[in-house]
């Protein structure tokens, strides 16, 4: 098998990868796209095996290591993919980013140790300067991706006592200064390595990058995790592209760039949905858990009602829009919600769902949670598509969402002014289900709860929805 043929097969695999992303433009074509991705990956792997046969001149005992690694990693990955709960997707994705980051570092170490095996330098000759620089970049991006993703994973899972794994940001004096100095030191070591191909600066640079990855994620609060996960997604792509540069492998560069730009776009979408600039998120310190503002204001009267009242109002409506927030997922109420929507549908009520881009813990998370509960995707609408309809909506049911429906976003001077929201306050009647009057991540009071047309139903989302279903049956 000639190297030209290998490269051409890699090109076919790259096209498959592009098709895999393109398929995701619609739920009906997405599964086909995923098949393209798998075919591309299998093609890439088998081509590489053929390449190994060619380069090793028949001495292929080394393939045993490849098969061993594949079996261990593949089994672990398949088990995780099968068992993971959909609410835990953000953790799984963060975990996977860390795998890519660490794999990139491992490959870079192997390349520095034995460049001749990869055909980037003749045996005994130094690595060309260009490849050294690319190795250095691939390594530090990979290392930052790894340690940053580990911290993000801890913050997302929220079940570890370790301080760095908690949602509340870790801030100390001179933090940005420390990060800047370490960043400069890392780049300095990298350039030293580029100049000399010496192990010492390479190792120091890698260690600094690992520490830096931790330091840049700890000041970012739990509420900003959707941005962080998207950002690390992007980093993992750039790390792969960096390795592709050092190995002169165009397929790795293409796949890495696709992933890198995908993560960057998702970060942008998330930042826009939270009305924050990217640098504002990265510099951190925002999103301390638990709001305080609600306590400062004088108690204002709210109208509260029972699940029965809510069920009665919805059954008399013509159109109902349901706004699910993360509180819904926390109390695992998606199936109860589906039951409610089904019952309302039987009574001739048109039910739709409105999803804010940051409704879940990662981009598109809420859509997956609703799909898991077998809610048809054509009843689920994105913010821009459903906002014009709220004025004609009889009843809006808000479940465990707060900041994303806060009309204060329309008031100049408010801390969240300009944030895109679901305009539920324009509907004829609003029913809000929450556990308490506590404020959301932004720590702001929500005027929606005090409007005359709003009825609060306090309690756990699942319990309330089940009560509503029972009440509908009784009607």
């Amino acid at each position: 098998m000639s190297l030209d043929l290998v490269t051409l097969l890699y090109l076919v695999a790259s096209v498959c990868f592009i098709q895999a992303l393109k398929g995701l433009s619609h739920p009906t074509t997405a599964r086909q796209g995923n098949v393209f991705g798998m075919v591309g990956m299998a093609l890439a792997a088998f081509t590489t095996v053929a390449l190994i046969f060619k380069l090793a001149d028949g001495k292929v005992a080394g393939l045993a290591y490849v098969i061993g690694g594949l079996l261990v990693g593949g089994t672990a990955g398949a088990i995780m993919a099968k068992r993971v709960e959909m609410t835990k997707m953000p953790e799984l994705v963060a975990f996977m980013h860390s795998m890519i980051g660490l794999a990139a570092v491992c490959i870079a170490v192997a390349v520095v140790g034995e460049p001749a095996a990869f055909g980037i330098a003749p045996a005994g000759q130094p690595i060309p300067y260009g490849n050294r620089l690319e190795l250095f970049i691939g390594t530090f991006v990979g290392a930052i991706t790894f340690s940053g993703s580990v911290i993000a994973f801890g913050k997302l899972s929220g079940k570890y006592k370790f301080r760095l794994f908690q949602g509340a940001p870790v801030i100390f004096a001179g933090q940005h200064m420390v990060n800047a100095i370490m960043g400069i030191a890392m780049l300095g070591m990298g350039l030293w390595f580029t100049a000399t191909q010496d192990w010492t600066p390479f190792v120091i640079m890698t260690v600094i990058a690992f520490v830096l990855g931790v330091l840049i994620i700890i000041p970012i609060g739990g509420a900003d995790m959707p941005v962080v996960v998207s950002m690390l997604n992007s980093y993992s792509g750039w790390a792969a592209a960096g390795i592709g540069f050092s190995l002169n492998n165009s397929m790795l560069i293409i796949a890495g760039s696709l992933v890198g730009s995908s993560g960057a776009i998702l970060s942008y979408i998330m930042c826009k949905a939270m009305n924050r600039s990217f640098f504002n998120v990265i510099l951190g310190g925002f999103g301390q858990e638990g709001g305080t503002a609600a306590g400062k204001q004088e108690q204002r009267p709210v109208k509260s009602g029972s699940a029965d009242d809510a069920a009665f109002m919805m059954s008399n409506a013509e159109t109902v829009v349901i706004v699910p927030g993360y509180g819904l997922a926390v109390s695992r109420a998606q199936h109860a919600l589906k039951e409610l929507a089904h019952k309302l549908g039987e009574k001739g009520v048109q039910v739709r769902y409105a999803i804010h881009p940051v409704a879940g813990r990662m981009p598109g998370h809420m859509n997956v949670l609703l799909a898991e509960a077998e809610i048809p995707y054509d009843q689920v609408f994105e913010m821009e598509d459903i906002n014009p309809d709220f004025r004609q909506t009889d009843v809006v049911l808000v479940l465990g969402a707060n900041d994303v429906v806060n009309p204060a976003a329309k008031t100049p001077g408010s801390p969240i002014f300009g944030m895109p929201i679901l305009e539920t306050h324009l509907a004829r009647t609003v029913i809000v289900n929450k556990r308490s009057m506590a404020s959301g991540y932004a720590g702001l009071d929500n005027d929606l709860f005090y409007m005359d047309k709003t009825m609060m139903v306090f309690g756990d989302a699942k319990k309330c929805l089940e009560d509503m279903v029972k009440a509908l049956d009784a009607l």
């Binding site: 619609h26 997604n233 077998e374």
Partner: protein, 108 residues
């Protein structure tokens, strides 16, 4: 004539691939952004190609074990990424069996 250095060729591929990525990803429907992230995890695991070369072709212990570790780490993503994406996308399938189930419920 001088030969164009591989770095320059790589840079051309890199820039064009970012351009393609940018345009393709904007066409992805927001409803599928979570599967998008899962599948991109699988795609960036294509560095398994480099890991395989490292594991199979190197002779020093350090490089060989680093390569084997990288194969295992990347394989987690290759298998995990594609399978979890498939699992999620199955959920977005239109439910054909919903209709008969509804009728049964109506009988009660």
């Amino acid at each position: 004539m001088d030969i164009i250095s591989p770095t320059v060729t790589n840079l051309i591929i890199f820039v064009l691939a970012i351009y393609v990525g940018y345009h393709v990803v904007w066409t992805v429907t927001p409803a599928l952004h979570t599967p998008l992230m899962a599948v991109t995890n699988a795609l960036s695991a294509v560095i398994i190609v480099g890991a395989m070369l490292a594991a199979a072709l190197t002779t020093s212990d350090l490089s060989r074990w680093m390569g084997t570790a990288a194969v295992a780490l990347a394989a987690v993503n290759v298998f995990g990424g594609f399978l979890v994406t498939r699992r999620m996308l199955e959920m977005f399938k239109k439910k054909d069996r919903a209709a008969p189930a509804d009728e049964k419920r109506g009988d009660h």
